[in-house]
């Protein structure tokens, strides 16, 4: 099974290497967001705890990791539509191989993108203020966040099986999920009813923990809560997604 996973991973990684545009464009968009929020909106947003760019970067990094999961969904939908999955399903291949290969590849891609985004952050004034280990922890949390969202996206991709539908649907649920959170603005600046939603949003919990690790703050509780959420999502969605492999559309 491990061998099948590595073969599938190799297949998807080769695609990214041969079509670098796929990765380049998924980096350009968040860079645009950084510029937009740092220089266009940023002046109007005041946060109490730190300067805005330091506040912003963990949020944008998390959002980028989450949006990267659209590639998971689209990639799987393409495989279904193009007949690749039928080929694999007619072979003695384990049900998890395609999905695991896809998730490993997208996690590798997310590691790369998170690192690029940290560099971009440094260029526009972001600094880690809490030491190297928590900084690595923040990056790891972002990658784990990406993986857990990818597990949900994988299920969507394998259910809908139409790349275009999956693409639009990905944006529809990821936009509110990431924007109605502490990603870009402090929750207390929102109207009361929205604050309730934003506070309960696990994305806020994940980003709070990332900020604590990057900038200093209450570490243990948010980190524990965040890990619980992310691991919980993986544990729930991964088996359901794996089961889709043999399910008929």
């Amino acid at each position: 099974m491990l061998y099948e996973w590595s073969l599938m991973t190799k297949r998807y990684v080769l695609r990214y290497i041969r079509v670098p545009a796929l990765v380049v464009f998924s980096i350009l968009q968040p860079i645009m967001f950084v510029v937009l929020f740092r220089y266009v909106f940023g002046g109007a947003i005041v946060v109490r705890t730190s300067n805005y760019v330091s506040y912003l970067m963990p949020g944008i990094i998390a959002q980028t990791a989450a949006f990267g999961s659209i590639a998971t969904a689209v990639g799987l939908a393409e495989d279904f539509q193009g007949g690749m999955i039928d080929r694999f399903r007619s072979m003695p291949v384990s049900t998890s191989s395609v999905l695991v290969g896809r998730l490993v590849t997208d996690t590798l891609r997310n590691i790369f993108i998170v690192l690029v985004m940290i560099v971009v952050g440094y260029l526009v004034g972001f600094r880690f203020m809490n030491g190297i280990v928590p900084a690595v922890g923040m990056a790891a949390m972002a990658v784990l966040f990406g993986l857990s969202i990818s597990c949900i996206s994988a299920l969507i991709g394998m259910k809908l099986r139409d790349p275009e539908a999956v693409q639009s649907f990905g944006l529809i649920w990821l936009f509110p999920l990431t924007f109605v959170s502490a990603a870009f603005v402090p929750v207390y600046t929102m109207p009361g009813w929205l604050q309730g939603i934003a506070k309960a949003n696990p994305v806020t919990i994940v980003i709070d923990s990332m900020r604590s690790m990057a900038l200093g703050g209450p570490l243990s509780r948010t980190t524990f809560e965040s890990l619980a959420w992310l691991i919980g999502i993986c544990v729930v969605f991964l088996p359901i997604a794996i089961r889709q492999f043999r399910r008929v559309s």
Partner: protein, 321 residues
Amino acid sequence: MSGEIAIAVEDVSKSFGKTEALKRVSFQAMTGKVLGLLGPNGAGKTTAVRILTTLIPLDSGNATIQGINVSAHGAQIRKIIGLAGQYAAVDEYLTGRENLELVGGLYHLARKEARSRSKELLFKFDLEDAADRQVKTYSGGMRRRLDLAASLVNRPPVLFLDEPTTGLDPRSRIGLWDSIRSLVSEGMTVLLTTQYLEEADQLCDNLVVIDHGQVIANGTPDELKTSLGGDLIEFSVIKRELSQHAAEVVAKFALSAPTFESESGQITLRPVGDGTHSLANLVRALDESGIAIAGLALRRPSLDEVFLSLTGNSPDEANGN
């Protein structure tokens, strides 16, 4: 080996919602032979293939491949079958060689074996020159050949080809037919679906004609042609304006009213009794009426005509072409 049943389908039914895709379908494929499932689009051919290749479950009935039950032992079935589907299911961004080695790896061939098997198949399917190019640069015919090669990596004794030549140009089609023939000569059992009668006629030892989810005929291509009622006489007359009259003159030699095709001027009839004898009578009758014949032929009906008479519409009409 031959004479054994490789694929047995008994009373298999399958519905998708309210649509009955297969209604108590039964057929058998013999080891080392090519069985063709022939029918228009939507007849249920692909559904049958998907059931046999474990992609979808059947609702009722029984299907076995080499005696192994398809529903109960999917994992075992997958080890002995190859499938080349309607889409060329190959990875665009991998090279031809990488595609085959990936498939070999997934069959758990040792790396060295996967490599040599890929090389062998690339050679066999005339893809050596393109082996290290990404598949996205391949032509339609090359993709299909690679797809077929991928389905053979594991040397499956039973091969399923779902419309293997749909969308190919005539030259690629004939090339693929040659490939399929050579596989059969090595003893492989092939089940192929097609909507092309010519393809069925060229490749298949036995045919099962499916329409609206039901088997409406089966037999060898020759048997099916004969079942239509033997020979046909086809002729045209020099003076086109006399065609109608000619058809009336020869009507007494025909089982049913002769058909007249205004564009080609061709008059076709199914003769009563012996074809050769009727031919002589027909020529004499026309001669006596002073009608000069332009062309005359006695021939077996084409599978097209068999299909037409079985389904009530030609496969082209059924496709909306």
